[in-house]
Symmetry: C2
Subunit: 771 residues, 2 copies
């Protein structure tokens, strides 16, 4: 038996096991004729893409074995879940992870039964599937994940199967250009396999229906050397695929060694549902969209369908593939690699196994000196940039900073003192900070930044994604999927913790001075808090030192999504580093120096979260001290938003007693919030003081205007906060009608000033804490 | 003076006006030497892309004039706002829309001053800009908008400038393939102009730095005939652009008449910040990323910068362009088209002007008969499909149905009785329902579906986007931008109302039986309700008849985003059509037949929104009637979610008195909700009864399992609701401990059943209202 016969045996075994998973409850080896009671009552799975995935698996195994090639497999058409599971079972890694699913008839029966079955496993390639870093639910991110996995893994090849459905998505279409960001010397290689089976759920696909010459140009235009493997006769296709893969891996070696400047890719054209039923009930199935899910649907009721299923399964000749006990025979396993070279057991696909902690410089060394609170302004992200610069310097192959062309705009440019932007395309003499292997990944695609970072993290590395706040919504859906991946992994004993996905959202809603309304959206936080509390964290550090402390904490954490919102514009330094650390550790606290309740029960609580709302709150506190000196005002700043929830809702949640101690149970609370105000209500609606809580925040008003005009448009400005206090503290409304009017006048004057001069009044621009 | 000299004069005038907008408060015609007080205090704008945009405008005007060509202009690099404004002012349409900005020196000064100035206009191409259907904030959607505008507009050419930054985004990369969905006979043409000025904010761009031969292949691979216009000498470039445009418009004519099967496109390669300062402070600016925003930043402080600005502005020779009064001279206006042929006044770019109401068949004709409530099941979307079929039939050029390959999966397939899927690529004999000009647009890209529909609506037509609920998050950011567009348009007197953007979210969180966790996310509603109440509407019709009534209402509405969540799986028919209409008109109401409070004050309110939660609520009500017959239970169903808000928050909001009448002010309310439970709290936290409100909903638990197991995983199932009632109705906990245990046992039995048999118990699957 030659190598291709072994590959074919493996392929047939994987196909057999895939069909078994979709259909069978019992009789896994077909030791008796199929009967209706062997069939699952609900047939839930996707056959169409599966034989193609199995074909690639089988052939890549031969390459791994022959070349000792470190390789992982990203299955873009991840609804072909049965393929990945079959593969892991054949390679033995499924049984290693799940010992009750043994490599024998009983284990095979369990394998079949559990698939897409209550209490069993998902129908897609999922976190539960050994060897996967890529959930196959939402399409579009396979190639970005593959490149993310390849960065800084010089010996790795990431084989990435891209379905022709997925290829229609925008994110995938944009991902092809990732090759301009790959360093042949320090990064691994990606082998895209565009699998044209011609159909998605109910339609032909675009790339399957354009002239082949156009497809060649498209792939060459994307910067690849395409190789076509087309056909349906298994014997011919095995020979063609093997020969192509040999050529392709030679070309990858050439690329890695600088002898070729383009990566190869493969276009694999096979029928959808290949080797399945050709025709069912008089309609063509194999090679059409009808093969997408379950080709034979009435197997339990129709003796004819049942017979077709049996014939189909027996066409793989299971008796040649499994021994009497149900164990795969030697011929099937001939091309299966050893130990961690098995794609289903490769540690890169369980990144926590390879995770090296970041070496972190002491963030205290980057502290800004704060002699007195709120007197001097600093750009927080610029300070963070210096910390990140040194993080990059001491972790040269274990950390990447992603951003859609905004790293400098977000004022993190200190990083360019030690590294460059990754770039493997033409450079010109006027270029700055572009180089192969640069640690900063900039491309004008939030999807690519997110996808690369996910792939990088899932294979055991670290990173941070800096983004304009409004445009992080572009990856809402990707965040959702990654959070779900993390949620699922918490219940999977063999998935090892990975570094958290860290977002730094800067250029935020309150400071879009020259971009305006389209750039104003703080709603990503609302999306984030919908995910399980165990995996999400939200921080709004109000100044440079709290940002440093928060960033250090996030970079050390595991298995979370951390969202940090921090401004790039100068804001007043509030806390010396030791107090900043204490404040961040508590997650929220009273700013004693800004409060006038002197440890007694206050008349009103001014709460705030976010840098601009905190500034306005402080200015309001100062106005109140000046104009209503007898009023006892408490200022509470919140850094860790999740502290507001009850402990039953979030691990960071504080008890009602703590909440009441800080916010009181019965005094008015004016909460000045960075984002949409309802989020604060949502987090606190069960608190005693909730009925007294009045939240200001972004209420979807904005344009290109001055910072203070933006605050006024949304009523988060200092003058309006004073008016809110007057309106809500019992008895104050009557006494302070004149002050209220005065505040209103000052707002009008401020607005008139900006409209006259195009900038905020100096006393507002230059305001510092006066006490 | 020949035509190209006129084009050049126009271009210089537009460039002059663009620089003036960025810099000047006064002295608009440079009638005196520039002084610091003529300069704005804050310089906020984007010069880099602007001269290229102006160049295209100028040349396209010649084509329009010479060929009488109906054309609109989509400016992908929309932060080049000064260009679009300059153009509208030169064409006179700015003054028509805003009479106080006249075509004279005073008007020019106002034009300059207002730009990116408090109380003025946004810095981007925005709804305020005449002639635009495309906000230039978030990048990625220009080409999709352009195609959307072209559909069913056979005489229109949509010129679409795509910045090389935007070209890196996924959505844009995927949009090129829109040409496979264009019908040369019935649709207009799109002319993509890929503008390679080489840089984004701080980086070179990918497409500017790949070999030209690769770029040619890429464009040919996308199915276009590329034409290159490259250089920087204005005279040479004018000749080259004019000659190229003549050829290109000939090719478009050939394409339209079936003599060519590929659309042309142009690659325009010019320096970033073309004609601006070449070098500032010893650093190159023109032709680099430094030209992105404001090339000279210290104009007010530095006499040298001030002089450079004056020299720059005078380089356009304003004295040749404007007469003494500041009006553009005849030579400048020579190529400006007449009336509605001006791109800044084209009615397609103010789609409401062209809007024809949909012809709507009577939705009552599609009603399912309901002899008794909740006895018979129907697939709601299948019924809707019949209504949509006839909508399509009687509106053959005014309505499109978009969906990412899910129209059949979402069970709207009746539409294929009268139309096909739009398809202009290869077809095979086995294909079904593919044809040029099909009214159904299916591509596996939510971005394209959304972008096409936006472009279609903004040019005055109608449509509906059907999507899997979880994956609508893919277009969260696009929804945000469209909602912001609608919000802004409400304040713009000349923007005419357009048809609402209608979403049908099906294949929802509760019925992902074979897809599982990755397909479970009802959080789009949370994103939607962050936008201004004036433009967002959310409906959860619980059955077929309420879905029909809701859909009819939405299709008639204007200027909203309507989100309809409705299942495709069979659900019990609750209401005969007349009651369904009344129920939808109220937006919520008591289901009398399911309630046992007989018009008196109830002991508990069971509220519900969404089809599956409503089913479980009804089953719980039946269980309570059986087991606790003395308990007075009120069942309230909510269709229009916005009714829950106070009227101060949303126009649909109901008064506290109404709310109390329905929900009581003091009785326990168990609210079974389709989405994340916090949304209901967020909408109702100010209500009297809020402290008694207990919400069940999706709490991020799920996998591939049975429908009832999904309900149990998230505690929205009938048994758990009964337990909730027992726990919350005063005095019931003690009396009904046994019943509570019984409910718990029934849950356990149901779960054990699904895990044994792989399907829900028959008494749950087949449950109907028993009274």
């Amino acid at each position: 038996m030659d190598a291709l016969a072994h590959v074919d045996a493996y392929w047939r075994a994987a196909n057999y096991l895939s069909v078994g998973q979709i259909y069978l409850l019992a009789n896994p080896l077909l030791t008796e004729p199929l009967r209706p009671e062997h069939i699952k009552p609900r047939l839930l799975g996707h056959w169409g893409t599966t034989p193609g995935l199995n074909f690639c698996f089988a052939h890549l195994n031969r390459i791994i074995t022959e070349r000792d090639q470190d390789m992982i497999y990203v299955a873009g058409p991840g609804h072909g879940g049965p393929a990945a599971v079959a593969h892991a079972w054949l390679e033995g890694s499924y049984t290693e992870k799940y010992p009750d699913v043994g490599q024998d008839a009983r284990g095979m029966q369990r394998l079949f039964r559990q698939f897409s079955f209550p209490g069993g496993i998902p129908s897609h390639v999922a976190p539960e599937t050994p060897g996967s870093i890529h959930e196959g639910g939402e399409l579009g991110y396979a190639l970005a994940h593959a490149y993310g996995a390849a960065f800084d893994n010089p010996d790795l090849v990431v084989a990435c199967v891209i379905g022709d459905g997925e290829a229609e998505t925008g994110p995938l279409a944009g991902s092809w250009h990732s090759n301009k960001f790959l360093d042949p010397a320090c990064d691994g290689a990606v082998l895209p396999i565009l699998h044209l089976n011609g159909y998605k759920i109910a339609n032909p696909t675009v790339l399957a229906r354009i002239p082949e010459e156009e497809l060649v140009k498209l792939m060459e235009g994307y910067g690849y050397r395409p190789h076509f493997v087309s056909g349906e006769d298994p014997e011919v296709m095995h020979a063609l695929m093997a020969e192509t893969l040999d050529r392709v891996f030679d070309q990858i070696a050439d690329y890695r060694q600088g002898r070729a400047d383009r990566l190869p890719m493969i276009v694999l054209r096979t029928p959808k549902g290949w080797t399945g039923p050709r025709e069912v009930d008089g309609l063509p199935v194999e090679g059409t969209w009808r093969a997408h899910q379950v080709p034979l649907t009435r197997v339990r009721d129709s003796p004819e369908h049942l017979a077709m299923l049996e014939e189909w399964m027996r066409s793989y000749r299971p008796e040649e593939l499994f021994d009497g006990r149900g164990h795969p025979v030697a011929e099937v396993l001939e091309t299966v690699p050893e130990g961690p070279l098995r794609m289903s057991a490769n540690p890169h696909a369980n990144g926590g196994e390879l995770l090296r902690p970041l070496v972190l410089p002491d963030f205290r060394d980057y502290a800004v000196e704060v002699k007195a609170p709120a007197r001097v302004s600093t750009e927080p992200t610029r300070v963070l940039g210096m910390f990140l610069r040194d993080v990059i310097a001491v972790n040269p192959d274990n950390f990447r900073l992603m951003g859609p062309d905004e790293t400098a705009s977000n004022r993190l440019s200190a990083v360019f003192e030690v590294t460059d932007r990754a770039w493997d395309a033409e450079t010109l003499p006027t270029d700055e900070n572009l180089a192969r292997g640069g640690r900063v990944m900039e491309v004008l695609s939030e999807h690519l930044c997110q996808g690369w970072l996910e792939g990088y993290l899932l294979t055991g590395r670290h990173g941070l994604f800096n983004c304009y706040e409004a445009f992080i919504h572009i990856v809402d859906a990707m965040f959702n999927q990654h959070a779900k991946w993390l949620e699922a992994c918490r219940k999977i004993h063999w998935r090892r913790p990975i570094a958290s996905l860290n977002y730094l959202l800067s250029s935020h809603v309150w400071r879009q001075d020259h971009n305006g309304f389209s750039h104003q959206d703080p709603g990503f936080l609302d999306v984030v808090v919908n995910k399980k509390a165990e995996v999400v964290r939200v921080y709004l550090p109000p100044d440079a030192n709290t940002l440093l402390s928060t960033a250090d904490h996030c970079l050390r954490s595991r298995d979370y999504v951390n969202v940090i919102v921090a401004g790039k514009q100068p804001v007043l330094d509030l806390l010396p580093m030791d107090e900043a650390i204490a404040h961040c550790t508590r997650g929220l606290g009273i700013l004693e120096w800004a409060s006038s309740d002197a440890g007694t029960e206050p008349d009103v609580v001014l709460a705030c979260a976010g840098d601009v709302p905190t500034l306005e709150t402080l200015a309001a506190a100062a106005l109140l001290r000046e104009c209503l000196p007898e009023l006892r005002v408490r200022v509470v700043n919140v850094v860790d938003l999740m502290r507001l929830q009850p402990p039953s809702e979030h691990p960071h949640g504080m008890s009602d007693a703590e909440f009441d101690t800080l916010f009181t149970a019965d005094k008015p609370i004016i909460f000045n919030f960075h984002g949409y105000p309802w989020l604060i209500h949502r987090l606190t609606y069960r608190r005693h003081g909730h009925d007294n809580l009045h939240v200001r925040g972004y209420k979807e008003e904005g344009t290109t205007t001055t910072p203070f005009d933006m605050a006024m448009l949304n009523d988060i400005d200092r003058f309006h906060l004073v008016m809110d206090v007057i309106d809500r503290v019992p008895g104050l409304a009557e006494r302070s009608a004149h002050l209220r009017q005065h505040m209103m006048d000052r707002r009008l004057r401020a607005r008139a000033h900006t409209r006259e001069y195009g900038e905020d009044p100096a006393e507002i621009r230059d305001w510092t804490w006066p006490y």
